[in-house]
Symmetry: C2
Subunit: 380 residues, 2 copies
């Protein structure tokens, strides 16, 4: 079978790696060059989108910010999974919030704002502090503002106006104003839904962000009641979208409750630990689902953590000498802050995992992995 | 880093898959076409052997029957690991037997035979029944004869003479006559040795052969004293060869003792279970070793079995619905008896593994998997 992935980054690459053993060939549509490429050898090209659609038995996406024209062409082929509506929902906070409300899934109080009047109304209706997020295209901390005090309103609004003016997306831009959640922790879940509606959820993952970007994920499967809440939220969202494939949900944990922060209609950075930590990794399960193959068990095999490699193109060789460490590079050119790879670490139980993680943190240079050692040390 | 593999079959392919995450590019020299190819996309070619040597930081092999000319050229580059002597030893039972004797590793009593006189002398010296194996190129049951009764000697010798006459290898052919071992079980071990002489052994694997070809391997890590014997044999052999990379040893178990049957200077079919069952799979560890990276832990993560797919190009989709089942296809064209892929199955303990294996055996068609259900059923 053949799969075309919209987007030619590391997620397409890891889908391709997970698919080869299944005799499923993955090609990737690079939205920058408008070329179909081999995600494992990006210099090998296969022509344009039309050829890629012709080649494929199934089409999927590795990111949600894809032009609606491309989505429409792919959907018309009858091969696109998840649907363009699912992908668009992940790429537009307005649709996302409507989905969560309609599916009756807990999330932060919010207002959609496109004008100064709506902004002022939101400030009056919601309780400060507020977090403002662009409806389209913002991620990893970009296109976000925090309003803690009324005195900041003018300056922030000016910033937002500039941001909206400079926006190059093919849809009208806006800002979603949310009441800031005083959360205890950020957790996330990836789950998978098959064409026949079967769902499976992976264990909840605890996430640590550095400068707004995910730096460490920890999957230990020890949060029974939260796991149940998260699985239910996943099922509601996935069923509401008639979703096919892997979908990620980021949650704020407030006491014993979870509120959805956002969804991602794709495999997700916080699910990379599944490559070593689960029966079937998220990449294989996504491809199985869009190819209408049985989805695989999402059980935790053993406690696993993932550490992102951001902006660095090497780590000390000694990292590989730690038992159960797997390094995953994406074959990308070095750029400050860029997601260059990740490191998975496992242990037969949580203490063994933490011992290995602590060892790892002591080897990784602090300059390339800020806050990582600090975060890991407070876990032990 | 770049690695050239001599041989472009499934072992090179799985080395390439295991290497991509380490940013190690693997190319393969196809000894049939004399072309260097992408083992993940065999239609993509990169020119001749000289270019492949130039491209590589390290050169290794996926099989032992490589022409001595090619080995000499590769060795001259200073990049070949393991050494040509190690590879030749795996490809010539005469050298192999000499190695085992010199390294003081237990193996079957034997004689090297090239003439009828030597044959008769071997019959007189050794105790019947005998097994006769071609010194070069025989594997998977080819180039083997069994002599149970003196009356068979003339017919077998005629067969052997024809075999030797028709042999196309670049070395003089002969036959190694061994006393047949009344073994209880065939087991094997893969281990890895680094450039600085560090060794690690994987858990012993129990192997079942069907029509002389490996059909099922089982790794459960429950043979402490045998494990110790096997690790010692591995270390003796690997040290004697100053070996670098993964090496496999097949043993006959007789009571509580192990006798070496044969060695393979490469990753091995009976080690495919390590992809799901071990901390670091044999393919990654081989590449780590030849690239002078730290070798990874060879611990068993959980009991795992491997079932070979021989001559079939599909299995029922339901196979994928069994938890912890991973299917690995090699992307090869169907041919009777050909190694087309394998299936790995894991369980958190042996009973769970056996339950899943039994389920698997009930789904796999008997015509494509002869004896597999029978073997699995007698395990439970």
């Amino acid at each position: 079978m053949n799969v075309l992935v919209l987007g030619a980054g590391q997620l397409a690459r890891m889908m391709a790696l997970a698919s080869k053993p299944l005799n499923i060939e993955v090609r990737a549509f690079d939205v920058g060059s408008n070329q179909v490429v081999d995600p494992l050898s990006p210099n090998v090209t296969f022509g344009d989108l039309a050829g890629g659609i012709e080649f494929s038995d199934a089409i999927t996406a590795e990111f949600e910010h894809i032009s609606h024209d491309v989505l429409a062409i792919c959907e018309a082929s009858g091969k696109l999974y998840p649907s363009s509506q699912s992908i668009k929902t992940g790429g537009d906070r307005r649709l996302e919030k409507t989905l969560l409300e309609n599916a009756n899934v807990a999330n932060a109080k919010h207002k959609v704002v496109a004008t100064r009047e709506q902004f002022d109304e939101a400030i009056n209706t919601l309780t400060l502090p507020l977090i403002l997020k662009s409806a389209l295209a913002g991620y990893d901390g970009k296109g976000q503002w925090r309003l803690k005090d009324l005195s900041q309103a003018d300056a922030i609004w000016q910033d937002i106006e500039t941001f909206i003016k400079e926006d190059t997306s093919d849809q009208p831009q806006a800002v979603v104003v949310e009441q800031m959640i005083p959360f205890d922790r950020e957790v996330s879940m990836v789950g998978v839904r098959s064409k026949n509606g079967e769902t499976q959820s992976y264990p909840l993952t605890e996430n640590h962000h550095t400068n707004g970007v995910l730096s460490v994920s920890l999957a230990v499967d020890e949060y029974q009641s939260l796991q149940k809440q998260a699985s239910e939220a996943f099922e509601k969202v996935a069923n509401a979208l008639d979703y096919v494939g892997v979908l990620a949900i980021e949650f704020f944990q407030v006491g014993d409750s979870l509120l959805v922060n956002e969804i991602a209609p794709r495999v997700h950075n916080s699910g990379h630990w599944t490559q070593q930590g689960s029966d079937t990794c998220q990449f294989e399960n996504h491809v199985r689902a869009v190819c209408n193959l049985p989805i695989g068990s999402t059980d935790l095999v053993r406690p696993t953590a993932m550490v992102n490699i951001l902006g660095a193109d090497k780590v000390p060789d000694d990292v590989l000498a730690i038992p159960s460490v797997s390094v995953h590079w994406y074959g990308k050119t070095k750029r400050a802050g860029r997601k260059m790879g990740h490191i998975n670490v496992c242990g037969k139980n949580k203490p063994e995992l933490l011992t290995r993680l602590t060892k790892l943190a002591s080897i990784l240079p602090e300059c390339d992995f800020p806050e990582v050692a600090e975060y890991i040390n407070q876990l032990t």
